[in-house]
């Protein structure tokens, strides 16, 4: 598809796919299991730095990305065992704070990460700039396809069923013999691994990362808004939400220079007040 498309659209497409990965990933823990996770930024930043540092030490790009996915998955597993015992607000806050802690650790580990100076990632040697942009588009597409595949498989598996049980009534699920801890941790790993890879791809794509950018709390909040927009727990909801969110963001960003954060805020408020079940629910109600 993206031949002859100009670089701006390619960049937008890549961002769109990245948002899709974030939203689909959050859907595992937030939409299916019903745990309000704010850990996306932690996984994203961790993946970005794992990938970038690995590349700094000479690992090939694709190996570095896989490594970033593994690091994010391991981290999610460990974190999941610790935090998923908490519920509601407590879980939300604990997961929110993880990104803050990681950011400050990365900030202090100057030797490895460059700290507040940021980190430059070697630019891949490629025939042309257009090739490079196309390459990252396909890379992000690959991650998105993997994530979507995981969603498909999960929804039809015992895991998906178990997660829905947990969302309905965790204590009951527990009594019925669902190993809730294991299920939740699995959902958390799934919500981390693709975000980690996406973070690493992103780092290679923009060539330069710094802690406040990749651990930005907005990476935790945006996927939630996207999923809410598209409909939580559904198959296509997160993707539709991501596309819609990016369009709105871009529209507002381009046309309302001085008020765009306010307009974005207004959109979120309206969405919560009038479409709390997402755009799909709106469609269903009308037809």
């Amino acid at each position: 598809m993206p031949t002859g498309v100009d670089a701006y659209w390619l960049r937008l497409g890549t961002t769109m796919l990245m948002y899709g990965v974030l939203a689909m990933s959050w859907n595992f823990i937030g939409g299916m299991a019903g745990y309000p996770s704010f850990a996306s930024a932690a996984f994203f930043g961790l993946g970005a730095y794992a990938g970038a540092v690995a590349q700094k030490y000479g690992l090939p790009m694709v190996v570095a990305w896989s490594l970033a996915g593994a690091v994010a998955a391991l981290f999610a597993a460990a974190l999941g065992f610790a935090l998923l015992r908490l519920r509601g607000h407590y879980f939300a806050i604990a997961s929110l704070v993880v990104a803050e802690v990681l950011r400050e650790i990365v900030n202090s580990a100057t030797n490895l990460t460059g700290g507040g100076m940021g980190l430059n990632i070697p630019v891949p040697q490629m025939a042309s700039i257009a090739d490079q942009a196309r390459f990252f588009y396909y890379a992000m597409l690959g991650v998105a396809v993997l994530a979507f595949g995981a969603v498909l498989v999960t929804q039809r598996s015992r895991l998906g069923f178990g997660l829905r049980c947990i969302q309905q009534n965790e204590s009951a699920a527990d009594m019925l013999g669902v190993n809730t801890t294991l299920y939740k941790v699995n959902a958390f790993i799934l919500s981390g691994v693709f975000v980690g890879v996406a973070g690493a791809v992103y780092a290679s794509w923009v060539h330069y990362i710094e802690p406040p950018d990749v651990f930005d709390v907005l990476y935790s909040i945006k996927p939630i808004v996207m999923v809410l927009l598209g409909g939580a727990g559904t198959l296509f909801g997160p993707l539709i939400g991501a596309a819609l969110f990016l369009s709105l963001e871009e529209l507002v960003w381009r046309n309302y220079l001085s008020v765009h954060t306010g307009v974005l805020g207004l959109l979120i408020v309206l969405l919560v007040l009038f479409l709390p079940k997402g755009i799909l629910a709106f469609r269903l109600r009308r037809t």
């Binding site: 701006y8 940021g118 700039i129 923009v206 330069y208 037809t287």
Partner: protein
């Protein structure tokens, strides 16, 4: 399921229908700025500088390009204080808005990140606020900068202290853990050690720190002769206030870069007295330029007339970036990107900002940044010799 994607497609298409038109007799310069987010105060300053240049140039009929005059237009994009978004904004400006030239986003980090985009599309770019040498040593041909490297600030300062305050031996450094503030603190450490001074304290504080009392108490217990602190305006207002609260006294206190801003002097009141600093430019410098602003005095006058405020180095640098583009375009006689780039590379002109000549990396190497000190609520230039207004005063309470 079919209806929604369709609806979505129309919406997405509608969003981007707003295309960019390019007029023929206008020079468009893109300026990605952090208009929202933590860096937004800096964006305001940049914008004031750019606007003053564009307005002054247009009032004179525009920029002389070969036989005709062309108006200038600055296209702003907000990148929300988010560096990757700055790269995106730069790319959007080049590919969508079809700008002819580019001003770099704010600071060394973002300027470096975006420089790969302008290099890609071979768009001449001037960075008005990037000082780190690492920004320029990437072998890029289209990036130019108006700030000399960081050590050109700490070196003359250290020389002066060494010469005029013989007893100064113990140096304490407290730096914001952020690109520029940290880089300048590291240069300071080198400059101090080079002169045989003893760095007794060197710590960083996190962005968003609400309290410096602990660090300052520790500094006080080390009884340093010279306290060197870096950070943005709000950090250093708070820090100076807490130094007063903790009754910290030292012969020399230097803060970079906040004292160059009137806001900092207003915000600290009497505590500003005798705090020294250095910056790349100061309204008290006196140059007779060949650019549209002419003398430094004239530039300050124009700025005051428009904004009712004295320009600081960041604002002046933004205006200078515009003026430098204008000089290069007029010399090249065309807005052809390659020719303007060559004109920039070979430039050797005097401006209100100072002598402008770019080194092989594209970073300016002709400026001598002034050292100054707040005395009786006003900044006085102590160095360079040619524009000196006062002597270094010792003792800060």
């Amino acid at each position: 399921m079919t209806k929604t994607p369709l609806l979505l497609g129309t919406l997405v298409a509608a969003v981007f229908a707003v295309g960019a038109a390019t007029a023929q007799d206008v020079i468009r310069i893109g300026a990605p700025l952090p208009i929202t987010g933590p860096l937004s105060p800096e964006a305001v300053k940049q914008q004031r500088g750019y606007d003053l240049w564009a307005e002054t140039a247009n009032r004179a009929g525009g920029v002389q390009v070969g036989g005709k005059r062309m108006k200038v237009e600055i296209v702003y994009v907000d990148y929300q204080s988010n560096t990757p978004r700055a790269v995106q904004a730069a790319e959007k400006l080049i590919t969508q808005d079809k700008v002819n030239f580019l001003f770099s986003p704010f600071g060394s980090g973002a300027a470096k990140a975006a420089s790969s985009v302008s290099e890609k599309y071979q768009v001449p770019t001037i960075a008005a606020t990037a000082s780190s040498a690492q920004v320029y040593d990437q072998g890029y041909k289209y990036l130019f900068g108006t700030f000399t490297p960081n050590d050109t600030l700490t070196e003359p300062l250290s020389d002066m202290v060494k010469k005029q305050a013989a007893g100064v031996q113990r140096v304490a450094i407290l730096a914001r853990n952020d690109l520029f503030p940290l880089a300048i603190a590291q240069e300071m450490e080198k400059s101090a050690k080079k002169r045989g001074m003893n760095v007794v304290y060197f710590e960083k504080y996190a962005i968003g720190t609400l309290d410096h009392a602990s660090a300052l108490s520790q500094i006080k217990s080390q009884a340093p002769h010279w306290i060197f602190a870096t950070g943005y305006t709000n950090d250093l207002i708070l820090m100076r206030k807490q130094m007063g609260d903790l009754k910290i006294e030292a012969p020399v206190v230097t803060m970079v870069a906040a004292p160059a801003y009137q806001e900092w002097i207003d915000g600290t009141g009497k505590l500003a007295e005798n705090v020294s600093s250095a910056a790349w430019w100061h309204p008290a410098v006196r140059y007779k330029g060949k650019d549209l602003f002419g003398t430094t005095e004239n530039y300050v006058k124009l700025f005051q007339a428009k904004y009712k405020a004295i320009p600081d180095y960041a604002e002046a640098s933004a205006s200078a970036a515009g003026a430098i583009f204008q000089l290069a375009i007029e010399k090249a006689g065309t807005i052809d990107k390659q020719k303007v780039r060559d004109a920039l590379a070979s430039m050797n002109e005097m401006t209100f900002w100072g002598p402008v000549k770019f080194g092989p990396t594209g970073q300016i190497n002709s400026l001598e940044p002034p050292v100054f000190q707040i005395q009786k609520g006003k900044p006085l230039v102590l160095h360079p010799q040619s524009i000196r207004q006062g002597e270094l005063q010792l003792g800060i309470k």
